[in-house]
Symmetry: C2
Subunit: 193 residues, 2 copies
């Protein structure tokens, strides 16, 4: 009985996440803060026209190079025909919305789990307005990126309306990609010769 | 002879792009600026734990709903094991780097083509530093998103060193996702009940 209890306690799963390990991870970071530093990487290769391909595999985190991915993730980007492409992939600003939607969802689920809230269903719909005169350099008053983005969540779970509202707030307060959209990231660019 | 010349002139291709159509598109926008307004959309569905799925298909642009995509683009996101996931997809901040790398590449190629510069090969490598204490809410001094991003381009083409350097500058000046990273985008979030 006591052994079974101990085993159960070391593998408490909520929303598909090992919440004991989440707590252990935070405890380990408190003891050794440098393990919280990650370095993520992409390699992009131009194919033709609006078509290019991004490959992702290695990253650094938790104090070491990660070796758990057996194969790379490969993402083709292209433009639709109206923007002179052939739809061989989503376009770059659609990848940006993908990043934002995935990140806000992950943030909501992780923080719900840390609070002991069971989520039954969660969905997010995003849309962003963009004027291509910015990209084309036709009007300096028009920005290149999204002028505005709207996010609509539907969340169902074992929680009050107030708790679910708060989780959607926490998703904004903690999401790395929400931060990237709403604040400035220093980006340095160079050409290798 | 004159007919052949006319046909050639209407389909001048550079770097895989129809550069006459690029010029025609810009001319059409000058006459009717509202066709430059686009609306892009994603739908994200939580699967389990750190695993969620983004679907992309329709968008609005050039004055109408686009119907050229026969199937949706589907992107699974997940976290690596060290962040309590199972590597069922790239993670959200890797998608953000994917968006940035694809967008800077597309910007470079389109603007090279508009300038009549033939590109033979182009590659970009990106890396970003992120401290997960921000996401975990462990230290308010640490931001959630990337603390810094570095982009390294390799570009070969029929152009001088100065022209190639300038193209890498133009990629920064015109890329929508570079703008999203380096400036603030208004993002509104609500929960539907």
């Amino acid at each position: 009985m006591s052994t079974e209890g101990a085993v159960k306690e070391s593998t408490r799963i909520l929303n598909g996440l090992d919440i004991d390990r989440l707590g252990q991870t935070m405890g380990a970071i408190e003891e050794t803060p440098e393990i919280s530093r990650f370095n993520f990487r992409t390699r992009n290769e131009w194919i033709d026209g609006g078509h290019n391909r991004t490959t992702i595999k290695e990253f650094y985190g938790a104090g070491q190079e990660d070796t758990t991915r057996s194969a790379p993730f490969v993402f083709d980007a292209d433009e639709p025909n109206v923007l002179l492409g052939e739809n061989k992939g989503a376009n770059p600003v659609e990848y940006a919305l993908t990043a934002l939607s995935a990140c806000m969802m992950t943030s909501l689920i992780y923080h719900a789990s840390a609070r002991g809230i069971r989520i039954d269903r969660a969905e997010a719909r995003l849309e962003g307005d963009l004027d291509v005169q910015g990209f084309l350099g036709m009007d300096e008053k028009i920005r290149n990126g999204y002028e505005s983005v709207r996010v609509k969540f539907k969340v169902e779970g074992d929680a009050s309306e107030e708790e679910l509202d708060e989780l959607v707030q926490v998703a904004q307060q903690r999401s790395p990609v929400f931060d990237i959209f709403t604040n400035s990231v220093p980006v340095s660019v160079e050409r290798e010769k």
